[in-house]
């Protein structure tokens, strides 16, 4: 069941579109903000609200890399692996995460603190290599800087 707050937010989102399903992405991202990820149960809740089938909604949910259909950690680090960051050493950034937290791309630490995912160009190529943690973007990331940055995300 959608919570009262979720329902209110979804009702607001729907107002922007002539058809309810137009708000599918807004709805998925809203519920994900409250619940961390989109479980089968969440999917059903949203589909019912949008008056579409869960299968239909899942074909949208699974298409987008920022919609999580599996649980993620309390924080998600997105490491840009596109060309400008590759030139400037994004592979070293990935290595450093592995050294510090013993996880590969796509994995979550055992204490549930952090998930690391690759991401396409973050649009900060002039400050490559770039990464985004939750909603914060960092540029010119070095292995040393990484350790300091991560202190903020416990």
């Amino acid at each position: 069941m959608l919570t009262e707050i979720e329902r209110r937010e979804l009702e607001d989102a729907v107002k922007h579109y002539p058809e309810k399903r137009g708000a599918a992405i807004d709805a998925l991202l809203t519920v994900q903000r409250h619940r961390g990820w989109i479980s089968d149960e969440s999917l059903l809740d949203i589909a019912r609200f949008l008056e579409i089938t869960a299968e239909d909604l899942d074909s949208i949910a699974t298409f987008y890399n920022l919609v999580f259909r599996k649980p993620v950690g309390r924080h998600v680090a997105f490491v840009c692996d596109s060309i400008s960051c590759w030139i400037k050493g994004c592979e070293q950034v990935q290595e450093q995460i592995k050294n510090l937290y013993d996880i590969d791309l796509g994995q979550t630490t055992s204490d549930g603190r952090l998930t690391v995912l690759p991401i396409a160009c973050l649009g900060h190529c002039e400050r490559a290599p770039a990464m985004m943690i939750d909603q914060d973007v960092y540029g010119q990331v070095t292995p040393e800087k990484m350790e300091i940055i991560m202190e903020k995300y416990k």
Binding site: H16, P18, Y64, A120
Partner: protein
Amino acid sequence: MNNERPLTQHLHPNGRPRLLREYVSTGGYGSLQKLAAGMVPKDVQRLVGEAGLRGRGGGGFPTGTKWSFVPMGPDASKPKYIVANGDEMEPGTFKDRILMEGDPHGLVEGMIMAGYALDAEVGYIFLRGEYHLSAQRLNQAIAEAYAEGYLGKSLPGTTFRFDLHLHSSAGRYICGEETALLNALEGKRAVPRAKPPFPQTVGLWGQPTIVQNVETLYNIPHIINHGVEWYHRLSRTKDGGTKIYGISGRVTNPGWWELPLGTTAREILDRHAGGMADGIGFRGLLPGGISTSFMIEEHLDLPLDFSSFPPDVGRLGTGTMIILDDQTCPVGFVLNLEKFFARESCGWCTPCREGLPWVAKLLTAFEEGRATRDDLSLLDMHTKWLAPGHTFCGLAPGAMAPLQSALKYFREDFERHIMIGGCPWSKKSAQQRVLV
């Protein structure tokens, strides 16, 4: 020559956004006053057409021509929509972000005026999900514009009223392709649509729709305020206006600069970016995102615009260049691009879904020293199999532009991988990447 930089001259160097009061104090929302003075939609359309404004999303299509396909008059189907394409996921590209973060009201004003010109009363800003700062600032600008009556109320001297919504997306490069974008906005899986019909007549929810890049829309109020002649004087070539150019890679000062359209790559690289970084040599560049073809030394004096490129040099794309230097393996560089395209393929049509992973696999074989002469011909063949016309949308042909040109200009490097059974840069480049 006109030395103004209308899109960025008022931006704060520290990145602070300009909110309503500040925006208005430098002439913001001035174009709306022209309506009270009797400017009708046809006038706006004519100005934009004569200004020679060409789309800044990568294709360079003349905006006025695109608008001319939208049905006008009392019999035209309503509502009509105007959509700002703020998906900006083309690797190497960060120009729309600079505008939206620094001057969010400029996009609101551009959309109001585009809406007025086409009698389209509803607008959406389609924003990539990762641009959280842009989202926050645009939301604030939209709220301010509603409070001030620029949105949601009849514009001065007219009965036209415009409503504007922000749609934050959730990733996937293909959403920037305009028909996939329309499916995404409708809450459908974001695969492209067949064309024709074109969105100008059958777009969002079946209604006439114009999709325009963010930077394109920022130009419109300035054309209306200052006129066609002024706009042409901003540029060095026959395409009007300025362009936000950018550079990333191993140069002294990576960054962005608003410059006259038609500025050369050499000027931007040497004068603005301070040349290559110490001890690093130039080998080539992609002029505007990764769906463009390599340019090499001999092309550096070409005007970077939408009409001066000889066909065999390709196209400008987004104008944000990526530099290939001599410490970086061209094969590894292209492999990174093709992995991106393979991952971002929407999977709708077979040549792209199957072909791009195959290309990535072939290039991996080069890097790992397993490639043969046959693999080189297979790469050549893919540039034909995935050429324009063989796939459902422009993603796969875009992916072939850097590959085909790399095979042309850096062929010895591919051959060297076969000959020595590995990547000549491998150790060196790993060390360099830590250093620079």
